[in-house]
């Protein structure tokens, strides 16, 4: 199995405050990996550092190529799609325009059109609402739209920041089911950050636990889920 993303000794800063203290992890091609941890542990910062949205030092390699010092918009062109916290919806634009924006770096018009249809098949609710302003969608629908928008890039790696945030449990089940399907069928590697550890561990095959900007635990998702000690001390369930 080849390593797709390799992060080494990552340190990130917000102004003078250091948020990540030498974090290292890797993600295999085709895997669904989750980063777990409490509020403020540095999960979101890790994703933001990968896309160079926060000042950081250390090594970030994607498919063997260094990503450091590349701008956010050029990192997208490596095939990394980031669904940010809060979903990043273009609320004043239509659902279909949001999907087109996901593919804005692509040039193959025919492929884009067929991919939009594919997204409507994955998420039928988006088809019903395709001319509607995206801001009028419910939270769950907006999260579906955010995932669909990311997939429009035809990414090799998708970064998801708290996809379950603010959603009803049933909607979350639905969404995670779709993520698993995308991972298996479309061969998209996924790195998902979650506070809902139980759910994320059911879905993922690899897991890392972060505490105060460091990796404190890593391993097979099933093993971590079955280890009561880790669950109680780090994951709180």
């Amino acid at each position: 199995m080849t390593t797709l993303l390799n992060v080494k000794d990552l340190r990130a800063y917000y102004g003078q405050v250091q948020a990540l203290h030498g974090l290292s992890f890797s993600l295999n091609e085709g895997s669904l990996t989750t980063l777990l941890g409490a509020n403020g542990a540095g999960k979101t910062t890790t994703l933001r550092a990968i896309c160079n949205m926060v000042r950081s030092t250390g090594g970030i390699e994607f498919d063997g190529k260094p990503l450091n010092n590349k701008s956010t918009e050029s990192i997208v062109r490596f095939g990394i799609a980031h669904v940010p916290q809060g979903r990043g919806t273009f609320t004043t634009m239509t659902v279909e325009e949001n999907l087109q924006l996901g593919a804005i770096t692509r040039k193959d018009n025919a492929g884009i059109i067929s991919d939009i249809e594919r997204m409507y098949a994955h998420f039928p609710v988006l088809k019903q609402r395709h001319t509607q302003q995206a801001g009028t969608l419910s939270g769950g629908e907006q999260q579906m739209l955010a995932v669909a928008r990311a997939l429009m890039l035809r990414p090799r790696l998708m970064l998801l920041d708290e996809p379950s945030f603010g959603l009803a449990p049933l909607v979350v089940r639905d969404l995670f089911g779709i993520l698993g399907k995308i991972n298996r069928e479309d061969k998209v590697s996924i790195l998902v950050v979650e506070q809902n550890a139980q759910l994320a561990l059911e879905l993922a095959d690899q897991a890392y636990v972060i505490e105060t900007g460091r990796i404190v635990m890593s391993g097979n998702a099933k093993d971590i889920a079955n280890n009561e000690e880790i669950r109680k001390s780090y994951l709180g369930y």
Partner: protein
């Protein structure tokens, strides 16, 4: 009744110019959240360039097109050199930047072309339009060119990829970068387009107000009034606001005793203040609600 129709049509003609200026102001406001006080001076300078080209023997429409191209490039250059470095600076720093730009352009125009008033040609002539005394061919031309411009912009922003990318960059910059849009260049492009739109406004109004370095002062204030009335967050509102302000200005000048030509400008300022007091978001603007 004929006086009324006449004033409304004349109002629509000048309103077209205000609509262009308001649109230019709104495009830059959308991109960088600041009002460009120098928008009028930039338009004036573009108009002088076209005049100079015509003095050198270039025919009107040739000069028109060359001026648009030069203005587009000039607008991008101003953004890259002056305002990109100020992107993260406080509001007052930006305001100082705009005032500096205003003064620099105004004085340079005076230095190069001096402050005497110059005649500026119209390609449409000034005969009665279609034999009607209501409106002149130049006024009809002003309306026609503006309508063509607005249609072109609508199609650009609605149906082209780059238009979509520009809208995305203006509405949610962070998400725009995350789908791979170079937001910094979208801002520069917005400056280029706004400058070219301003140039059109300048070249269309110059036969009416005559060409001189201070020609756009009043026009820009009406443009601001239009943008505020329509809503600074809405390009569509800015255009509607432009036409409304043009009509309102003319009717007030004609029918309100004592207003006449002299008090027309204070009316624009009074309009700005009333809108800000009564409906700060403007007719079509969105109230920005921030979660705290």
């Amino acid at each position: 009744m004929e006086l009324f129709t006449n004033q409304v049509l004349a109002g629509i003609a000048t309103g077209a110019i205000y609509a262009c200026m308001a649109l230019a102001v709104v495009m830059i406001y959308q991109a960088i959240d600041h009002l460009n006080f120098a928008q009028g001076e930039m338009a004036m300078f573009s108009t002088f360039i076209s005049w100079q080209l015509m003095q050198w023997g270039v025919p009107y429409w040739g000069a028109f097109i060359i001026t648009l191209a030069l203005s587009f490039v000039g607008g991008i250059a101003i953004e890259r050199i002056l305002f990109k470095p100020l992107a993260k600076a406080p509001v007052l720093t930006n305001v100082a930047g705009f005032i500096a730009l205003f003064a620099i352009i105004n004085s340079s125009a005076g230095l190069i072309w001096d402050f005497t008033i110059k005649q500026y040609p119209t390609p449409f002539g000034s005969a009665p339009f279609l034999g009607s005394q209501l409106i002149s061919t130049h006024q009809a031309g002003m309306i026609g060119v503006t309508v063509l411009l607005l249609l072109g912009l609508y199609f650009f922003f609605q149906y082209t990829r780059i238009g979509l990318a520009m809208r995305a960059a203006a509405s949610v910059p962070e998400s725009a970068r995350l789908v791979g849009i170079n937001t910094s260049w979208m801002i520069a492009l917005g400056w280029g387009m706004a400058t070219a739109i301003g140039a059109i406004a300048g070249m269309l109004i110059a036969p009416v107000v005559f060409l001189e370095p201070n020609m756009m002062g009043g026009v820009l204030i009406y443009g601001f009034a239009a943008a505020v009335l329509g809503g600074l967050t809405s390009p569509f509102g800015a255009v509607v606001g432009g036409f409304l302000v043009g009509i309102f200005e003319n009717l007030a000048g004609t029918y309100i005793p004592g207003v006449g030509n002299e008090l027309k400008l204070p009316i624009a300022l009074a309009l700005i203040i009333s809108v800000l007091v009564v409906k700060p978001a403007g007719l079509f603007g969105r109230q920005i609600v921030k979660r705290v």
